[in-house]
Symmetry: C2
Subunit: 575 residues, 2 copies
Amino acid sequence: MSKLLRVNTRKKTFLFEEPGNSISSLGGRGLTSRMILDEVPADCHPLSRDNKIVIAPGILTGTPAANSSRLSVGSKSPLTGGIKESNSGGLVSYKLARLGIKAIVLEDKPEDDAWSMIIIKKNSVEILPADEYIGKGTNEMVEKMWAKYGDKVGVMCIGAAGEQRLSAASIQLADPHGRPGRAIGRGGLGAVMGSKKIKVIIVDDKGAEKVEMADKEAFKAASKAWAKMLADHPVTGQGLPGFGTAILVNIINEAGALPTKNFRSGRFEHAKDISGEKMVELIKERGGVVSEGCCPGCVIKCSQSYNDKDGNYLTSGFEYETIWAAGAHTMIKDMDDIAMLDRICDDVGVDTIDCCVALGIAMEGGVIEWGDGKAAIELLKKVGTDDPMGRIIGNGAHFTGQALGVDRVPTCKKQALPAYDPRAVKGVGVTYATTPMGADHTAGYGVTANILSVGGTVDPFEKPGNIDLSKNLQIATAAVDSAGFCLFVAFAVLDTENALQLIADMVNGRYGTRITPDDIIELGKSVLKSEYEFNEKAGFTKVDDQLPAFFKEQFPPHNVTWDYSIDELQEAKNF
Amino acid sequence: MSKLLRVNTRKKTFLFEEPGNSISSLGGRGLTSRMILDEVPADCHPLSRDNKIVIAPGILTGTPAANSSRLSVGSKSPLTGGIKESNSGGLVSYKLARLGIKAIVLEDKPEDDAWSMIIIKKNSVEILPADEYIGKGTNEMVEKMWAKYGDKVGVMCIGAAGEQRLSAASIQLADPHGRPGRAIGRGGLGAVMGSKKIKVIIVDDKGAEKVEMADKEAFKAASKAWAKMLADHPVTGQGLPGFGTAILVNIINEAGALPTKNFRSGRFEHAKDISGEKMVELIKERGGVVSEGCCPGCVIKCSQSYNDKDGNYLTSGFEYETIWAAGAHTMIKDMDDIAMLDRICDDVGVDTIDCCVALGIAMEGGVIEWGDGKAAIELLKKVGTDDPMGRIIGNGAHFTGQALGVDRVPTCKKQALPAYDPRAVKGVGVTYATTPMGADHTAGYGVTANILSVGGTVDPFEKPGNIDLSKNLQIATAAVDSAGFCLFVAFAVLDTENALQLIADMVNGRYGTRITPDDIIELGKSVLKSEYEFNEKAGFTKVDDQLPAFFKEQFPPHNVTWDYSIDELQEAKNF
């Protein structure tokens, strides 16, 4: 049975612990949210010694199940003040699962200024001084860690933003190609890691056995059907591998839902210049990689390597949401400028969405001009330095709005809205408003039925059906995030009748349990309820489950508005 | 009957309106809180066009009642996100009352960058361009306004901080001596005025009649007894006129309750260097003024003029809380440095408490050294400039804590705690936690019975009696703030059996009503209930009615702690 690894960051001690009954069957987001609810005082300061970080592989992580290697990181968020789970790919999750580690729990915080690193191997845990790495970017960190601890070790680290405990700081994970492009991006969990003065965690699974299987054959049969399902679906089998998530730029622009110039319009006249198609064209011209996986067992491979004009590597994991935030939102139309903004965010360790939305707020406040990519790059480069403007941008969009006295700030629960206008994609708008995570498209991706005709169709402009769409997706997503699956499996799952049964079969094959598809849905509900409970204890009310008033404005080209009442929105949490 | 003056700041139009029945008998805080509750959507952005500012004299303002010329300003606070009333002296309140203006209501906000000023005279209201004054400090503003519109006109204006819409921006009022040392300080209402692009409001009551009296003789009798009561009480008759509020430095230090080095100890070793006694000594040496009034009809005269070493005027309204925040809190022990910090705050227009507490947070975060007055002055001078560090400090202590990743930040509802440690003066601690205003000593000044033996005695270190002490004071204060009285009348009121009857008699003499002391208490309760209702609609819960966890630490020299449960504190709002 896998164990909890508790690390006291003040005393530099650790211990392994059997998980109690209440959490023994949990993994991923289900585990992190339960433990944060149980162990962290909801009203504590997120950067205080009372906060914890829980780092957990999913229920199926470590098995050969396709796309099951996501890593969940949970904590009280310095950005939202509520509970947070953020998940990403990379190598750490798979390796932790193989080492039989159910979760790493970072506790307490140091009184002094000494930094540490944690090195986890099959038969050892070391907590060593890390002062020599302070100030280093995540690209250099991954390079140095692989050079010192071996190629392909799992690396999760913070950049200078996390060291400074900025509220939009990320934790960056090395992908299988040695690049830190995978981010525990949202909610500022890098700041919590920084408050505990942990610069980097290394996970080396050398010598680990395969994870145990209660029924190897049953698992194998389900797993094979699962992989085939992913390969056969047009989104996971063709769209995402072909153009990455940036395939959405043209689709969402065409739908009139690409928020442009700080959510003033749904069409960006230069959308084609920042599209997935354009990205692929540039990658091919410059000798990059169009399609690669970000974690072990990935069959979708929506990541890529993007090179600059001279053919030198610039960035990877170049996502639609980043391209939108740094592009249409700010009116920047040069793909290389946008790629540079992505690289800087990853290297200094901040959320691309919150900080690039913040760049747009800086434009709104007159600090730099709309569309000026070079000025945006210079501004973003201040993050992690002594320049106080870097501390402003690095604390995200809400904070930047307050600093500059700007009242048009697209956030919910202080987290920046992502790349789909809530007025024109109401299914995801309801998710922004009501998820306990703060505005987050991944928490209930209504774009599926609203735009992509995946899992049915629901009119994106009208209210009917969108509360239920968001609610059901939020429940399903909480389960998907607990299993350790990449969210993108959902495209295929939503269109495949027996998909939940396949997941149940894989879990049963792994653990010898007898769970059903209904149990998976119940798991999703219980995860959300834990999160609601934490946020209520932290002081959240239904008032926090609303979008800013300016979304009542008509949104061109379809002139749709956001007109949910406060009580209508609460229906999305009623299950 | 007095009228509302509504100004549309977008259209540059105004109208006079008869107050409706629900507000016709209200004034001061009672009026501002009721109108904000009724007219401002509680969940709006404080800097958006949906917010309003209500500027109201008290019920007795304009009469000869001693110390009845306070001005209440209400709005949704950009600092706390809740309802706010902040009141101050100066000339505007008295003059508005004499002009028969029940309140000025600033509505909407401009779409362009043009600034305006409002000039109110007996038979005219003008809304004129004010761009020529942008960037000017409040000292220069008052000087220019008096030169142009006549000595002794009422002036309320914002400095550069309000123009930048910083969350700790104040509105400064000219006192009768032509200095902008009186502040609508707390809660950032200067930022709301800035969002409406109103730089200054001038009120000239030339030609105004005396306010009407329903029963002149009855009023006169009560008013005379009222003035005598104030003159006879040792605090209002001797202590405050003799040494200003700074008389408290030695008293609170002696009590072990003077928060030193960001609330680490209750004794500051250099307290005598920053005491009221020291201040008076320096004022006398340098030809300043020890005691002067800040508004018409003041018989207490706790203000002063403080000159620099060369005998040049430096600052006025040099309050205990400012001296504490800029002094013991930051470990600065040079009175002239502290006076300079006070002057800068007033001139650029920020709350001395929130911004000087922020300077201590900057010390906590390593930006400058503890006790370095010169560095603090340089840092504070950045406020209102293009330097982003100025935007950080100017947004107050909570914001500065987030910018610097500091988790030891003494705030409640994001407003900085004032100059009495809640552990060692529990009566005021309960007020900090539970007042709808955010941490505010003036909302229920438990120092009275806790330290000064005014209105009885309650042990400051132990829980018993302190919930009731705070509750009763909060209720009484809400009434005092509605009448237009200076809070300092409370010292005498609490020790005088028929004081509430005197207030009732004055109100009845003025308006021909038949109110009783019980009605005054009921008024206080109803004001608080309006404020609770607004804050609940804005998303506040009992979780917000708590102090930061670090107050559980033992506080030397008496090693007291803050150990109220969340539900115990709610008792202070149960009436």
